[in-house]
Amino acid sequence: MTAPTAPAATRRRAAVLPIPAGAGLARMVVLRNITSFRHGWIALVTGFLEPVFYLFSLGVGVGALVPHVTTDRGSVVTYAAFVAPALLAASAMNGAVYDSTFNVFFKMKYAKLYDAMLATPLGPRDIAVGEVSWSLLRGGLYSAAFLLVALLAGVVHSWSALLALPAAVFIGFAFAAVGTFATTFMRSWVDFDYITLAIQPMFLFSTTFFPLSTFPTPLQWVVQATPLYHGVALERALMLGEVDASVLWHVAYLLALGILGVVGASRRIERLLLR
């Protein structure tokens, strides 16, 4: 992605800048989303309930069928303790992807919200930063609530679980960034099937419900390449107290993903909106 040799006017504009223009008003975009969410508080509550339903159902139900699981790092834990960190990571992913894909697409293509915003001093950077901040804020709220439930359910095994909250926000950031980038390529709602196609298998196979050792070796490599795997592994290490240096690999993977998403999304948004 090099700056194209455009006419003078374009070159003078943002092409020379590494990041798109903004007016430092991103917080107003967050404020807008908070105002809008006050009307839809029911969505807030029900969104939090989903992972709790999963935890309860799988912990109580499947837990009776599978009393103990040996994690990939070697500890033996109850099924609920095994699945809870994975649900935290998956819920962070789901929320972030929903916000950054369906939601952003709706605002961009149908509500034309960003067109209205760009007619004001707000710039593309304000919008991008504002939307991502809001998504992380909401995701952080959900994650905190889920962690509290997990604590009460007795499936939190270590003080390192305190780091599980920032980790969940971090996972949300990585997915939100990539999700936004992907959304800029979407032409119609039909294309969102590809999002589902990426998310659902990850939810089901990224060692969420059973350990990596369950897979045949070649498939283990495939699973380890998916971003959610790293999110789940990170949360599991933190909540079960299995932290070692290898955790940094997961962090590095998610960080790289996040940076790719932010850089890609900023460039694409500017190209799409400021035509």
């Binding site: 006419p7 008003l25 067109d115 209205a116 035509r275």
Partner: protein, 321 residues
């Protein structure tokens, strides 16, 4: 963002130029939507872009609104370059887009508050300003309703109120009354007149000649990305049309067949699918002349020339197909 030019106190001088375009071009790939236009808008005037769909009006408006990069030529708004001073320019503009783009998830008053915050106004400022604007837009009773429940005319008034939240010096209106019923249009025109009296500079596009005649002090006629004529509505009519027009309708499929019948009666004749337009200075005299030839049209009408006739003359096409 602290441009020294902004600090200069504004004075209501007649030649205070707010928008200045020279050889302005906008291309989308190979397509030249705006093909080298020169435009000057002075403070306090109502300036119009008249033309059919696809003439390049909206592309011009988006460039003036500092949201669409200029492809060629020069553009200055408040003396600033939109390529480098976009936020500073937009802070002083009000924009009423062609589609309302209201925030459907918010209430009427929240739409004003939140939009005001995008300009960096404080919560107290936007609340105060929103109260005045709701009154101006006759929407005070609807303040707490969701936008969804408003009629088309109300939504457009809310969009205009929203565009005024930052007390703009220039209001850009892209086809402000398209899709509104006649009553809603008149209410809207009334609101725009008030703004003009308060000294707000209006820049608008329209494909309605009556709207252009009603609202604009000065306008340019655009076609295929170019300006084909410029002046006040009255001057344009007298320069490019006759005083009156005689409209004749015959009982046949192709009105071209009747061209010979009216030959020599007026200065010029235009053929429309459903009628002939004969351009004359005295319509009644022309009608008697035609009756004298023993020609009986199905119906006839004498009217004054409008901008529609100017456009027809300049481009050979109707404004609304």
């Amino acid at each position: 963002m602290t441009d020294p030019r902004q600090a200069v106190p504004r004075q209501p001088v007649a030649d205070d130029v707010l928008v200045r375009a020279r050889g302005l071009v906008k291309t989308f790939g190979e397509f030249r939507a705006v093909d080298g236009i020169d435009v000057t808008v002075h403070r306090g005037e109502a300036f119009g872009f008249l033309g059919p769909n696809g003439a390049g009006k909206s592309s011009t408006m988006r460039m003036v609104g500092a949201v669409s990069p200029v492809s060629g030529g020069e553009l200055r708004i408040f003396g600033l370059d939109p390529a480098t001073d976009g936020p500073a320019i937009r802070a002083r503009l009000g924009v009423v887009p062609q589609a309302d783009h209201l925030d459907e998830e918010l209430t009427v008053e929240e739409n004003l508050w939140i939009y005001g915050r995008y300009f960096g106004l404080s919560g107290r400022q936007v609340r105060e300003r929103a109260r005045e604007l709701l009154d101006f837009a006759q929407l005070t009773e609807r303040a707490r309703h969701k936008v969804d429940s408003l009629s088309g005319g109300m939504k457009r008034r809310l969009t205009i109120a929203r565009s005024l939240i930052n007390s703009p010096e220039v209001l850009l209106l892209d086809e402000p009354t398209t899709g509104l019923d006649p009553q809603a249009r008149h209410i809207l025109w009334d609101r725009l007149f008030r703004l003009k009296r308060q000294g707000v500079t209006l820049v608008l596009t329209t494909h309605y000649m009556d709207e252009a005649e009603q609202l604009c002090d000065r306008l340019v006629v655009m076609d295929h990305g170019r300006i084909v004529a410029e002046g006040s509505p009255r001057n344009l009519i007298s320069a490019h049309s006759t005083r009156e027009v005689l409209e004749l309708r015959f009982d046949l499929d192709d009105h071209r067949d009747r061209l010979d019948d009216v030959d020599g009666v007026g200065e010029r004749v235009e053929v429309l699918p459903d009628r002939l337009l004969v351009y004359v200075d005295d319509g009644d005299a022309a009608m008697s002349a035609i009756a004298g030839r023993g020609i009986r049209p199905l119906s006839s009408l004498v009217r004054r020339s409008t901008l529609e006739d100017v456009f027809l003359h300049l481009t050979g096409r109707s404004l609304i197909d």
